[in-house]
Symmetry: C2
Subunit: 345 residues, 2 copies
DNA sequence: ATGAAAGCGCTAACAT
DNA sequence: ATGTTAGCGCTTTCAT
């Protein structure tokens, strides 16, 4: 005696399948008495509707496919939480896939998810290979590309310019008096947005006649431990730099911990700059510069776009939502203090 | 011209629906020539199969429902990553829901997910209310409860005893010479596993004739910032404690940062103990004690159980998989150094 | 090796 | 307010 169908519930309540369907969906034109009888039967029989049949029949699904590259730092989980919260109450359900920053895997995940006939799909970044773009285009549903704005979107686009974020950070650091820069990063071949930030940062440095005095880039994925390790190595090789730009806040936090162990004073001797604006950075025992990216908000806005698009709100709305990260954690007077000290010594 | 169906692909290839179906699934008894023709047509038409129809017809789904309480620290994302990795290559697809530590919301999410007829469901914890347990029981699919072992499982159970984890940590800290304990935690009413750790810790302390000299518990969810704030307040009120147990590593890390700002030497003056064994803790500029919980492994083992259960591997296998966290970051000599210093002062 | 018929559990559209 | 018919797109089963 398992998995009662709508028909069985209907029979139990002494009505037709159709009436039972209406009653359970709370349709208007069902007598209160009938509805009560159906609902009672359904409850008693532990009836759970079958969405496969529902969606196949009605040609509507409440599934929103979401593909993110990673779950190994807090960034994408926060985006997912934003999406999930933004979808709350809409009756829609997010389905998540993790691509591990692998374009081929991403394509397979997308193909797989599309077979569930989602009503919208949310993917990370703008740099999918042509084949994947084809897949998305032919799906004939709203496509939302998250996080990045530097490229040509397929449909909707919510995020920020990582190139500009890199430039802005470089400008702010130069304005704060820093001149000898190092770069510590990882997995740039896969994390394209980190690469765009670095490129933007270098562009801005060049405009000031500057550049990276030293770089340490590893193939492994970013982590606090890796940031610490690479920073320790860099400081041994080039002790006279006054600022290090990191691929993200995890790496930067590791960098701070390396400095603390080596007795390097942050930010007086070396200013540490990351990207993301993690909770962690705000509590660190020394100021670390970072660009606050509104990860949760990006997810929520994406969910909002999905809701509007699915509700058929026409094409009048904005296709691209631009967020601009704010830079925090830079105090020019730290550099001033440093300069004075050097001059007096 | 959108969304071609199998029938259209078949017509295009000049065969019947059924042959096309077989060809695309790579069935044995289709001539190579026919298969090639069908596959070519499908590719050209951008055919994507409809899993709703497939699953409805075959009465099999590849969906695994997963409900976690939170995405606001790295713990559950790592579990999800483990599940996702463990499912890789099985053809199964995880569907995630976030309950925000809200039992009523969890029940609604589960109900919703069950309507997709998943082939298994993975939930967090053992303390679901009876109504939710009913729902899960009647779903007639493997139910896997994660993370916690302290309670009565519905079916499969993968995790660790949080009560024992708390006890073990207390024993280790007492053995290391600590005597005046503080507790800093948050959201204990919702995060039941943190509550179980605290209860276990207190049990062990009592067995030694000890207890918490001071507690700071907030309703907000755990974060580094909150750990820092509560610790600062606690140290102002009770400067003479020698150890603080935290609800988790995020809180503990914040506690360390508070100590560093106040000039309290960790672990000589105060030993800080958390729970989880986050990457963060291993890189911190001072030793922090913690219990390493194998989050990713728990997810992977859960996925493994799902695969076995769905493959119908009989009932011979283990229903409960026990993990035992290992404690790291405690060095008794730190306490010895501290004691000497106090005696000599 | 291929095809035809039946049906998965539900809803849309049209009765009554 | 309720029932009837048809069909969503696929697989299963049984023919051939």
């Amino acid at each position: 005696m398992r998995k009662p169908t709508l028909e069985e519930v209907a029979t139990e309540a002494g009505v037709s399948k159709m009436t039972a369907s209406r009653a359970l969906r709370g349709a208007a034109d069902v007598s209160t008495e009938t509805r009560d009888r159906v609902v009672e039967a359904a409850t008693r029989m532990n009836y759970v509707g079958n969405r496969l049949a529902l969606s196949l029949s009605s040609r509507r699904t409440n599934l929103v496919a979401v593909v993110v590259p990673s779950m190994s730092n807090i960034v994408f989980p926060e985006v997912l939480a934003g999406i999930s919260a933004g979808l709350d109450g809409s009756g829609m359900q997010a389905v998540f896939g993790i691509s591990d920053y692998d374009m081929a895997k991403e394509r397979e995940i997308i193909r797989d998810m599309l077979s569930w006939q989602p009503c919208a799909i949310i993917v990370t970044g703008l740099d999918q290979p042509e084949e994947t773009v084809d897949l998305l285009r032919h799906a004939d549903i709203p496509v939302i590309q998250l996080m990045d704005l530097d490229g040509a979107p397929i449909d909707f686009n919510v995020g920020l310019s990582h190139g500009a974020a890199g430039e802005d950070m470089a400008e702010a650091l130069v304005a704060a008096g820093r001149r000898r820069f190092g770069y510590v990063g990882s997995a740039l071949a896969r994390d394209l947005r980190a690469g765009k930030r670095k490129a933007g940062f270098e562009r801005a440095l060049r405009a000031h006649g500057l550049g990276f005095a030293e770089q340490r880039i590893d193939d492994a994925f970013s982590s606090i431990a890796l940031g610490k390790q690479l920073t320790t190595a860099m400081l041994a090789a080039v002790p006279d730099i006054d600022c290090i730009y990191y691929s993200n806040d995890d790496m930067a936090s590791g960098g701070l911990f390396a400095c603390m162990e080596l007795g390097v004073v942050v930010p007086r001797q070396i200013l540490i700059a990351g990207f993301n604006g993690l909770d962690l950075v705000n509590s660190l025992p020394a100021p670390v510069a970072t660009s606050r990216s509104p990860r949760r908000a990006i997810g929520q806005v994406a969910a909002q776009l999905v809701r509007q698009a699915v509700a058929g709100g026409g094409d009048a709305r904005e296709k691209t939502i631009v967020f601009k990260p704010t830079i925090i954690g830079i105090d020019p007077s730290d550099t001033a203090a440093r300069t004075e000290q050097i001059q007096s010594s």
